[in-house]
């Protein structure tokens, strides 16, 4: 009985693995690899936004605060509206990545000459990266920076 069960389990698992691999051949997504690699995003090393950016870049708390004080960047909060309402960087625009279809009007108003700093709930949060990728590829906005520390780091620093 146990031998039969083991055989059945092996057959079912083999079938699932086979179909999974077969599915991978019919995927349109060129970036989807069987073995996923950790994405490395370049970091801005000074307080100056690079002239030519080949994709969204990472910035730290000091950079974000510098441009917040100078008023030289627009902050975008990629978290849900509930989280945004509970607390956000002053004057930040809310574009929740999970519901970005509902925010087409807001995104269409973003102009491609401004610098945008996108944040969410900290380093474990991927919403800011996802939104930055979407704005970069779909809305053709170049000056996109990701503040990885996000709202927790900003709040912890006691910034407005």
């Amino acid at each position: 009985m146990i031998v039969i069960e083991k055989k059945q389990i092996i057959i079912i698992l083999a079938l699932a693995v086979g179909l999974g691999f077969l599915r991978s051949f019919f995927l349109d997504d060129e970036e989807f690899a069987l073995i996923k690699k950790e994405r490395v995003i370049q970091e801005v090393s000074s307080f100056v936004v690079p002239d030519e950016m080949t994709g969204p870049m990472i910035v730290n708390l000091e950079f974000a605060k510098y441009h917040f004080d100078a008023g030289s960047a627009i902050f975008i909060d990629a978290r849900d509206s509930e989280d945004y309402e509970a607390g956000h960087i002053r004057d930040a625009i809310n574009i929740p990545y999970d519901y970005y279809e509902d925010y087409e009007d807001v995104m269409n108003e973003l102009d491609d000459t401004s610098t945008y700093i996108i944040y969410c709930s900290g380093e474990e949060c991927s919403l800011s990266i996802d939104l930055a990728d979407y704005l970069y590829t779909e809305k053709l906005i170049d000056m996109l920076l990701i503040f990885e520390g996000g709202w927790p780091q900003w709040r912890h620093a006691g910034y407005p």
């Binding site: 699932a16 690899a33 509930e82 709930s121 474990e124």
Partner: protein, 151 residues
């Protein structure tokens, strides 16, 4: 016991579980990249295996869903069903206890707004999975359960 037998409770459980697994697999089969991101947000697997898991798990769900409904390879199918459900309950539970926002994959403090609803949603899903697990255990050990009730 006669009532259970006449209603063919085991068949009903198999069909319910089968339909749930087939339904659960559908979106994931269509969008493995999206499912891979969901897996990533739970912080339980190495990044390297996330895409592999996103490709294989949905097919496993579909196969056991179909096999449960048609009664194929029932011993093996129910064992995998039980293991899968225990696995799902474990990863959802760790997300609740660690306070992970599975929408964004980030850890949040209890005080943050929205987390209570999210936690309730996860707790609800854990509750559902426990019910499904109960069904799967009854299917798996129906003979032993019947004997115990008789004995």
């Amino acid at each position: 016991m006669n009532v259970i037998r006449s209603l063919n409770l085991i068949l009903i459980f198999r069909v319910i579980l089968g339909l749930i697994f087939i339904y659960a697999s559908y979106d994931k089969i269509l969008d493995p990249a999206g499912f891979s991101n969901n897996i990533h947000n739970f912080h339980i697997t190495p990044i390297a295996v996330e895409n592999l898991a996103a490709l294989i798990i949905p097919w496993l769900e579909l196969i056991i869903g179909v096999f449960l409904i048609f009664g194929l390879f029932l011993e093996g199918t129910t064992s995998i069903t039980i293991v899968l459900l225990v696995f799902f309950i474990a990863i959802l539970s760790q997300a609740v206890f660690r306070g992970i926002d599975v929408h964004c994959g980030c850890f949040k403090s209890v005080a943050d707004a929205g987390v209570t609803d999210l936690r309730m949603e996860l707790v609800k899903r854990i509750g559902e999975d426990i019910i499904y697990l109960g069904m799967a255990i009854i299917i798996k050990f129906k003979d032993k359960i019947t004997q115990q009730i008789k004995g």
